[in-house]
């Protein structure tokens, strides 16, 4: 069972040995070497295949593909009439004649399929190129922004940040959120959340953008995406000696309602808080009827450095409560949002590569490489035709196609 969990967990961290964790493995030297080898092999195969194809084309040669279907039939009429009919029927099936020789017709189809195969492999190269560009230039991190408390767009404001050196040089720009709204279903699950993002750069008019899940904003070449949210109560905590030990906006978890978070107190100790956004009492305990901040009440436990709970109580929004000489004031409830800030120049290569890849595969499937060789000679009944059709893939299905061609030719011919 444990082995199964490790195997299924490929991609998660913690459970599997480091070399099996894809994120770690993907940045290892052997993985990069393998990717480089793959790129080299792809380039070599593309070059070789295109050169061979062009050479055959120049020589007017039709390559005989892997699987063959052979049929002989007799067509009524002399050579020239039969040839004309043959050319017509072959062209109607999308074959293009290649080269000219008396008594022989060579034709092939599926050039688009070949182009598709090349496009697909070139698309892979673009994707790998995109991944390389991303790993060298990507910037990604998260800002936690409480409503009404903009943050400077600089490394120190981020809670997580990859590629800090790639952030634009600090120029006093501040980003913030306001008018956050969250919508819930009748059963209480979150269905949507949105906010107005504000961007203030000294000397430039402020900018505002509506952001929601799946709909980010762009500023200074960076993408800002709403990722998560929670409650941000403005709190003040004053101890029994009148010292303010906390005067801040706490960032509290959203789910499940009533979950406990800890806020550090100045001079040591913590204020443990649980927020009930839609407070009610049930079974002698505080509960929240929903996630809507209809009647926010904060339960707190004041824990001194030694771990002793010095005061415990509940305080509603806009009120303050004093227990054991310690006062907790819950001024106002706002939201905070986790905003992912990202810039990834490799993305465009990835998109281009994906388009090439998907279109290329589509062409490859729709136009398989097939070729045809027909030789004819006069006979007593008219013209005897020997058809050799060849295909690279799916021979049994191709046989049916060739039979349709033979049937079309036989409409005015007799089978041999």
């Amino acid at each position: 069972m444990a082995a199964l969990a490790i195997v299924l967990g490929l991609g998660s961290t913690g459970r599997a040995p480091a070399w099996l964790v894809p994120r770690t493995a993907a940045s290892s030297v052997w993985f990069l070497a393998l990717t480089a080898y793959l790129c080299a092999a792809l380039v070599a195969s593309i070059v070789l295949r295109v050169r061979t194809w062009a050479r055959l084309r120049r020589l007017g040669h039709v390559s005989s593909e892997r699987f063959r279907v052979e049929r002989t039939l007799v067509m009524a009429g002399a050579g020239a009439t039969a040839e004309a009919r043959l050319r017509e029927a072959v062209a109607a099936q999308g074959y293009a004649p290649r080269g000219a020789a008396a008594g022989i017709l060579r034709a092939s189809r599926g050039d688009l399929g070949f182009a598709g195969s090349i496009a697909f492999h070139a698309g892979l190269l673009l994707v790998l190129g995109g991944v390389a560009v991303s790993s060298l230039t990507r910037l990604g991190g998260e800002l936690l922004l409480a409503e009404g408390h903009p943050a400077a767009l600089e490394a120190a404001s981020f809670v997580t940040l990859d590629g800090a050196g790639r952030l634009p040089a600090p120029d006093g720009t501040r980003v913030g959120i306001r008018d956050f709204i969250a919508e819930y279903s009748e059963s209480g699950t979150p269905v949507d959340f949105a906010a107005v993002m504000t961007f203030e750069r000294p000397g430039a008019p402020p900018r505002e953008r509506l952001v929601r899940v799946n709909q980010g904003a762009t500023f200074a070449g960076l993408q800002f995406t709403l990722q998560r949210y929670g409650f941000a109560p403005a709190l003040e905590a004053v101890d029994e000696r009148g010292r303010t030990r906390l005067d801040a906006v706490g960032l509290l978890s959203l789910l499940p309602p009533g979950r406990e978070d800890s806020l550090p107190l100045e001079g040591g100790g913590t204020l443990r808080v649980s927020l009930y956004p839609d407070h009610a009492r049930g079974g002698g305990r505080s509960v929240s009827r929903s996630l809507r901040p209809a009647r926010p009440v904060l339960h707190f436990a004041w824990v001194e450095p030694g771990g002793r709970v010095a005061a415990e109580g509940e305080v509603a929004e806009g009120a303050s409560v004093t227990v054991g000489g310690r006062t907790v004031r819950f001024e106002r409830l706002a939201y905070f949002a986790g905003v992912v800030v990202a810039r990834d120049r490799g993305l465009w290569l990835l998109i281009a590569g994906s388009l090439f890849g998907a279109l290329g595969l589509g062409l490859r499937l729709a136009y398989p490489d097939q070729s045809l060789r027909a030789e004819w000679e006069p006979c007593a009944e008219g013209t005897r035709v020997r058809l050799t059709a060849s295909t690279r893939f799916f021979p049994a299905m191709y046989e049916q196609t060739v039979e349709r061609l033979v049937a079309a030719l036989r409409e005015d011919a007799t089978p041999a």
């Binding site: 199964l4 299924l8 991609g11 269905v191 949507d192 799946n214 995406t225 990834d344 893939f393």
Partner: protein, 267 residues
């Protein structure tokens, strides 16, 4: 699930079971009438299955693509429909009806063991990419599963002395074509998922278990196609390949739910 969806779905399950039993009896005892009845029950079961999905769609206000139950409901339907399309074009594949009915029943059984609560679309799913990503995911999954079943049918068919070479050839080609089509759909699925992820999470790849396994199975099928197309593998070897490759995809679509339900949690 609501009453309408439940009634339709259980009726579909009963028809799938009937299709499985009749088609199996038909092929084991060469009973033509039973076989035909089994083959006819399958489209009817799929129609009821579709109506159950539509009933759920109406009740939740979104396509059934969100949790493990909905994914089993939708994914199993795609398997059945892809098989029907194949059987219409290549009658030789109709002999796979019992296996397809069994696969659909197994997938539905997996879904029915999960909670089937009617819940609205969660925030991350509210994107136009959802339809593209999920449709291609199920097209890929369905094609791979049917390719494996047809590969199995090929292996079963060529065991017999009186095997018809042309029929065997068509089954072989059908399996290969399904793998190729599934691979194209898989490519679109992964690409659209990555682009969506960039807009949603600010990164297009994070090596989470679903992403990793999707890549692993895509690579497995890439190797599969090279063996078929580049090295010309056919017949038994290619059929075994189609049967064996499906393991990766089953892990991706169903095994991962034991580790994590969605890619990466939002909120």
């Amino acid at each position: 699930m609501n009453a309408v969806e439940g009634a339709l779905l259980w009726a579909a399950v009963a028809l799938y079971a009937a299709s499985f039993v009749l088609a199996l009896v038909g092929s084991i005892f060469h009973a033509g009438r039973a076989g035909r009845a089994g083959a006819a029950a399958l489209p009817s079961a799929l129609a009821l299955h579709l109506l159950a999905g539509v009933a759920r769609w109406i009740a939740t206000g979104h396509a059934p693509v969100m949790d493990a139950y909905e994914n089993s409901l939708t994914g199993s339907w795609f398997v059945g429909v892809i098989f029907l399309a194949l059987a219409w074009r290549i009658p030789a594949a109709r002999a796979a009806t019992p296996a397809v009915a069994a696969a659909v029943l197994l997938m539905l059984g997996n879904g029915l063991m999960m909670p089937a609560r009617l819940v609205p679309l969660e925030p991350p799913f509210r994107s136009g990419w959802l339809v593209v990503h999920v449709t291609f995911a199920w097209l890929a999954f369905g094609s791979y599963v049917v390719a494996a079943i047809v590969g199995g049918l090929y292996l079963w068919h060529v065991r017999r002395a009186e095997a018809d070479a042309r029929r065997a050839g068509l089954l072989d080609d059908a399996s290969g074509r399904l793998v190729a089509f599934g691979f194209a759909a898989d490519t679109v699925m992964i690409a659209s998922g990555a682009i969506w992820a960039h807009g949603l999470w600010g990164r297009y790849w994070a090596w989470d278990p679903i992403e990793t396994w999707s890549l692993v199975s895509w690579l497995i099928y890439g190797v599969n196609l090279h063996l078929r197309f580049t090295l010309g593998w056919r017949g038994r070897r290619a059929a075994w390949l189609a049967v064996g490759s499906v393991v990766g995809i089953v892990v991706t679509f169903f095994g991962i739910q034991f580790v994590s339900d969605v890619h990466t949690e939002l909120l």
